[in-house]
Symmetry: C2
Subunit: 243 residues, 2 copies
Amino acid sequence: MDNPFIRKLERYSPLAPEQRTALEDVARRQVRTIPAREDVIQEGDDPRHVHIILEGWACRYKQLADGRRGIVSLFLPGDLCDPDIVLLTRMDHGIGTLTPATVARVSPDMFDDAVIRPILTRCFRREMLVSLAIQREWCFGLGQRSALERLAHLLCEVHSRLHFVGRVEGMTCDWPVTQIDLADALGLTSVHVNRTLQDLRSAGLITLRGRQLTILDHARLMQTAVFDATYLHGELEAGSNHT
Amino acid sequence: MDNPFIRKLERYSPLAPEQRTALEDVARRQVRTIPAREDVIQEGDDPRHVHIILEGWACRYKQLADGRRGIVSLFLPGDLCDPDIVLLTRMDHGIGTLTPATVARVSPDMFDDAVIRPILTRCFRREMLVSLAIQREWCFGLGQRSALERLAHLLCEVHSRLHFVGRVEGMTCDWPVTQIDLADALGLTSVHVNRTLQDLRSAGLITLRGRQLTILDHARLMQTAVFDATYLHGELEAGSNHT
DNA sequence: CGCTGGATTGAATCCTTTCAAGTATAGTGG
DNA sequence: CCACTATACTTGAAAGGATTCAATCCAGCG
């Protein structure tokens, strides 16, 4: 079975079979299948587990009493939900699925056990740094980018991240997110997301139908997004065994 | 000398004299004084050090080729600039001072040495979690909050954070940030920041003159900001020796 | 086949920006 | 001590991007 989580970590550093097995063990425990639009962890919970998304999309969100919701991060297959969050006594945000998802729930002890191997420690820290960088980039974009740039930027980002875990065919990938969710992630209304999406389509940059996204003109899409992939730190390490 | 960095860590867990000394040693090395509006680390640099802000304010920012700048985090006295950043080979953002600042530059090895003590490890991880939570809150606010809420929210946040390190007198604290910087942090123009600031003033919520902020009506300011301090995880731990 | 949630479209409104100019404040040098 | 400069702050008017409100369309589903 192709495990996007391991695949992603291997990008950072080649893993010995022993290490890969350890990770597979971790990711095989307590695998749950969760329907779409359901919470993995709720705001206010006392977090007790580390979660790994094996399949499907999820998000981290915050909500105000008046109903406003903001999606502050997106979790794609292979993503890790806050290894360190268990130190807090009260979740300041929720984690919910956007699509049906299969999620591994790992106890902190077991997770720490796996991570203690020096090479894995390094992989995990890098993985965490990348997710931090993504968070900063979102912050920047929400403050400085126009709606069009923001949308195009997210498309570029997700495409890249899916590429890292082998979930891209040619220039096509899944896009299961509704325009409403997209709006909450981009700080826009769904109406405006819709219109902006159409701008991208009519400019011949993308195709988006039936939950599938195709990037027709990657160069121009990156250009309109002012997308610079540096922050994803996707360049493979020297000495990696990948091509 | 009052060290805001140690003071903050002590909030998480009482420290033995031995540990405090270790921290003081770390924070005494390579202390530099940096003028206002100067880079501590530049975008594109290969990061070689961990920085601790001992005095003054700084920020993490990103910039686009066309000149747009976004401030994605604020560093106050006692704040740590990315303990883990040294793992990356290329900064995807810059760190610059907003005021004259004194900064301790710590080598990763020395830092790891200090952190290895179990209690300190815990403090540092909590500290990191809090800074993550702040980043998420910024993300949320930029997407969902109005200009007025955003501004009020930042005032509340900074006031709280300064309070944690003993830099608040009554309801008054330093506010050395120009409206231009504020605009870059809030995703607004300085013109609009100015007007929004005046709204807060004329509503009798704050006073802001001569680089000093006074909160006149904390309850109402938090209310207009829809501020919920949970995310700062400021509640002291059970068993703490503080009052 | 009617229902439901998502996608789409139109028109009016509004918050924020843009452009432009004027005022204040602080530091410098003569 | 006062021009002189630079930077920050303030104010006004107009333009614009995004929202709001409202309807319609569409596809999947029981």
